[in-house]
Symmetry: C2
């Protein structure tokens, strides 16, 4: 390797589907890198196009347009080398969907020319195509593996480093993309192949969504890769958000330069457009410590992520204002705080919509919260409209005109009255207020109630975006308490933190009597996480319950399960009830707004749910029988 | 080959996610086949589990449970041979998602034993994994191709026929699955490989959704396969529906037995549980003619498909009744007819919900339709509730309590008033009626308005299922007219067929003045189809427009485009407006109900739409400039 190579690593805020915007930023970065004497500038995966574009990859004109921008970038490379991610299209060959064959590619140009690696002229392809969670790479792109197979070659023949000539000396760059470094579950390791083929530096162009508590894992994975293949490793990720239609993914960047021993040389600021400048070679920069997040930082990360996601979502709308319902409960309090932070309190219209079931406690809490945050605030009582609806329903008669003219009148159940209130609030009041103000209204659901369907379709399921839909109820309390510490004042009134969580839609949910939601949050939060994130079946739960390790495995406080459920029968009854609610209420999630994804698994395109009702395995049935007979 | 082999081909109505139900049907069929002296019985792909299960494939207990049913089937094979589709799991190996490795497999047992093909004991794997449209095979399953690569073998080494010994003689059966026969876009042809390896009969186990006007294509594809590999070909598909959460796919069965020259030996009835019994060999049954559908049959197929999809959807609910809004327009009339057919008119509650903008024409049409169909009918005027909402909105004042105490009042625009009416009808009245009756209400949207967002979120976007969401407005008229012919009476009143299509939400949409929707259906239907089904970009449209071949390519009546758009400017303005509506209104489709898929591309999981706003390619911009300067 030459004595030193100066590399700029550009972490941009990529606008998915808007190459015109992205290309302008890239060209400006290239110009700046030149002026600062850089030898090479690196951009992230799919930096021209954005990555989570859904089936827009099937729009051939759009894809051709994307490819056209490569020429602009090649020309701009006069005076340095540039590597970037974009789609590659082979119009002469078909992909397995019968459309022009596309690859997720890295392009490399130097001094206005494409750089050849002996196999490809100025580009290489992603080898490992993720197709789990939100990823659909294999749906749209052909892989280097399939190409090797088609050509009857070994993958190692095609994965070659690119020789860059810098100050008369050659350095061999190995370019991989995102999943290529997360190769544990695949049969090949692209990093190792490239280093075995002579690569002196590995560049990983990524478009890798943030997951709460994931960044440290990335450092460990790189360290382990470099143990086998010790070369400097540059990880370039983008910032911004990408919205696949059901989930908003956050990109924190966190681009990192690693020494060949896996220690960190430099790391970007999270969620910032930033260009790292590093020197690779004998004169490279010293190591820095790998940051070890504290518990506090953990919650800061979540808070920062949520604010960033919301801010980006609103940036995509014609308005920077929002309407929100304030019930005086914890979920809406947290959303109100986030909106006030992101949009400014003067741009948030909060409305409390009491019916006769709402207590003074929560009504006062809502008003106090609005005051604390400085929101525009109004009270919009819904009882007159609810009463009108109930009166009209009681008067309506259905008639079959060609039959015995039997009239059918309606029975109005307590549940119907609950749902009428919820729908009145959202689909009547909030939607109309948003329409009058020319803004959107925001959903307040949490992950627990979203999972169990403890919400009303066309009621509190409504909204343009669900900021808390991937956060469990207990985490919401945790975050709210943290905010009061973080702000060093009681932004979220203690009355909201202390009142029993309740929908307040009937006398059965009277908070002044201590009555609230029919959910045992300390247990059910964890149960649902096991269904959603661990992909557990009730059979898994029952097996752990029988073994006596359920609390330990799900991280539930010891003794809680037997406290809640005094008998096997009670435990099983609840388990079957919750599994049934979880499965049946898919119908509400189908019509729910996009959720900001923060966990290991969010409802939406991240977790694809077919509408197939409820099933219990034969093993489950057997185990249940055993337990009940031993009770 | 032996002189003759008696084969039963069982076309079952598969319940996705309910192996307990499916297995009972299979065991009954096996028993019956034995009693009728069959040598072999064939079931369809994934007959044990169902196919479109979303990410339930990640539930390991469920998957183990599915695999467990194979033993029941092996045991049941005493006295004949059985082939069926189910998942195969290799718990010792990982799939590329890090979970236990799964294959989409065919199992084969005879006389209680697994049949070996020298490579696998009693099973083989699907080779080609579709991952376009609604298919996510590659997301969940490992393919025979990847396995061959991992083992360092040729695919042909692994794709071996199974030897069945029947009456002392051996016949070699090649088993493939679904996509394996649709191999044009792949580099391998599993049918050819198997026949080259000695297969004397090819069995295709399919789970292949119905698409309007597709069946004849299947016959052509088989014929072309058999030209290269002339052996008898048995195609076994299931019936039923599978609901992936955003689309309901119809399975018409259409299982077919082909002679080795591609002529038909036998074909099942569509949408029926039916077992074909055929004799393969020298004494095989004679050919029958390939059915050539007439135009009339074309519409019958659509009608039958829609009814079947609706019937199956309701079968999955705890109720066989429905609520529907009847506006007196064509869409709701068609849905009402379908519901009456499927549920019986006594189980349909139709409600007309006039505001002051609704004409006598449409109100009378709604009443007449209800009478014609024999529905339960009521009129539920919404004006009092709309007036109350407008009054409450005009009185509301937002105050920022910690600022200058400036009060914000609201401006109520005509569009706001339109949307209030739509939301009042759906989220207040229909939802409450459904709740009172303990039933669901049905969505009336068509594909044209779904595409353009000519509908109100939490208004007419609502509903448990969208039966017409994959059918363009002109096709709806076509189908409605056909129904009146088919029923040989004016079931759908001519007043509904003749009135101008209109939302009747303002004076601007007064049908008595001939005012209606701002959509030029004969052109825009086709434009949208080009966006959705052909995956066209505005650039494609503008190129065709410039060439003068737009009408021909999109099958628009000659002269219509220049009649609608007297100048290039007018054409371009409309094109950009519609493309913008199409892209922006993704937010409504995100929260829309599941659509019955009938076309080549339905909104939902079939067409995955990211929320990225609007973009026009550079080529488009260039072309536009050219056209406008030449205008």
């Amino acid at each position: 390797m030459i004595s030193s190579i100066k590399i700029a690593l550009a972490q941009l805020d990529v606008s998915p589907g808007h190459p015109d915007i992205n290309i302008q930023k890239m060209l400006a970065e290239i110009t700046r890198a030149k002026s600062r004497g850089m030898d090479l500038i690196i951009f992230s995966e799919m930096v021209v196009s954005g990555y989570l574009l859904g089936d827009e990859w099937e729009n051939d004109c759009f894809v051709k347009d994307l490819v056209g921008y490569n020429e602009d970038l090649r020309r701009a490379s006069a005076g340095l080398a540039v590597i970037w991610g974009n789609v590659y299209v082979d119009f002469d060959k078909k992909g397995e969907d019968g459309r022009p064959r596309k690859y997720n590619a890295a392009y490399i140009a130097q001094d206005g020319h494409w750089v050849s690696n002996g196999v490809f002229e100025g580009h290489t392809y992603k080898t490992l195509l993720p197709k789990y969670r939100e990823f659909d790479d294999e749906r749209h792109f052909f892989s280097m593996i399939k190409l090797a197979q088609e050509k009857g070659k070994n993958l190692a023949d095609l994965l070659q480093p690119f020789p860059l000539v810098i100050k008369g000396q050659t350095v061999l760059l190995g370019a991989i993309m995102c999943e290529d470094m997360w190769c544990d579950d695949y049969s090949v390791n692209p990093t190792k192949i490239l280093v075995d083929n002579g690569a002196e530096i590995i560049l990983n162009l990524s478009c890798s969504p943030w997951t709460w508590r994931k960044n440290n894992k990335r450092h460990r994975v790189v360290k382990s890769l470099l143990e086998k293949s010790p070369v400097p490793f540059l990880y370039c990720n983008n910032v911004g958000t990408q919205n696949n239609g059901k989930n908003i993914f956050l990109f924190d960047g966190h681009s990192t330069v690693y020494h060949s021993d896996g220690t960190l040389m430099a790391v970007t600021q999270d969620y910032a457009e930033e260009t790292l400048e590093v020197v690779i070679g004998p004169k490279s920069s010293p190591s820095i410590a790998t940051p070890v997040p504290s518990d506090r930082q953990d919650l800061v990360e979540l808070l920062v992520g949520l604010k960033y996601g919301l801010a980006h979502f609103f940036r995509s709308l014609p308005t920077l204002q929002a309407v929100i319902g304030l019930s005086g409960g914890i979920d809406s309090a947290l959303v109100a705080y986030l909106l006030a932070q992101v949009l400014g309190p003067e741009n948030v219209y909060a409305v409390n919509m009491p019916s006769k079931f709402n207590s003074d406690v929560t009504r006062n809490s809502a008003a106090l919260l609005a005051q604390n945050l400085g929101l525009n605030y109004a009270v919009f009582p819904i009882q007159p409209a609810v009463d009108l609806t109930l009166k009209e329903l009681s008067e309506i008669r259905f008639v079959r005109q060609d039959s015995s003219a039997k009239q059918v009148s309606l029975t109005i159940s307590p549940l119907t009255i609950e749902n009428i209130q919820a729908r009145d609030r959202s689909s009547r009041v909030l939607a109309a207020l948003a329409s009058c103000l020319g803004v959107v209204f925001v959903n307040n659901s949490n992950k627990t109630e979203t999972a169990l369907g403890y919400c009303t379709l066309y009621g509190d399921v409504d909204g343009a975006i669900s900021p808390l839909g991937d956060i469990y109820k207990n985490e919401i309390y945790e975050l709210a308490r943290f905010i009061n510490q973080y702000e060093a004042q009681e932004v979220i009134p203690s009355s909201i933190l202390e009142v029993v969580p309740s929908a307040e839609l009937s006398l059965e949910q009277d908070v002044t009597q201590g009555k609230g939601d029919p959910i045992l949050y300390p247990y059910h939060d964890r149960l649902i996480r096991s269904f959603v994130e661990f992909r557990f079946d009730p059979q898994n739960i029952l097996e752990l319950y029988q073994l006596g390790t359920l609390e330990k495995e799900l991280k539930i406080a010891p003794g809680l399960v037997s406290k809640y459920f005094p008998s096997h029968q009670a435990f099983i009854q609840d388990l079957e009830h919750k599994w049934t609610l979880f499965k049946i209420n898919i119908f509400k999630r189908i019509q729910a707004p996009p959720i900001i994804a923060v966990s290991r698994r969010a409802f939406g395109f991240d977790l694809r749910e077919a509408q197939n009702g409820v099933y219990f395995t034969r093993e489950y049935q057997k185990l249940k029988k055993q337990l009940l007979s031993s009770n």
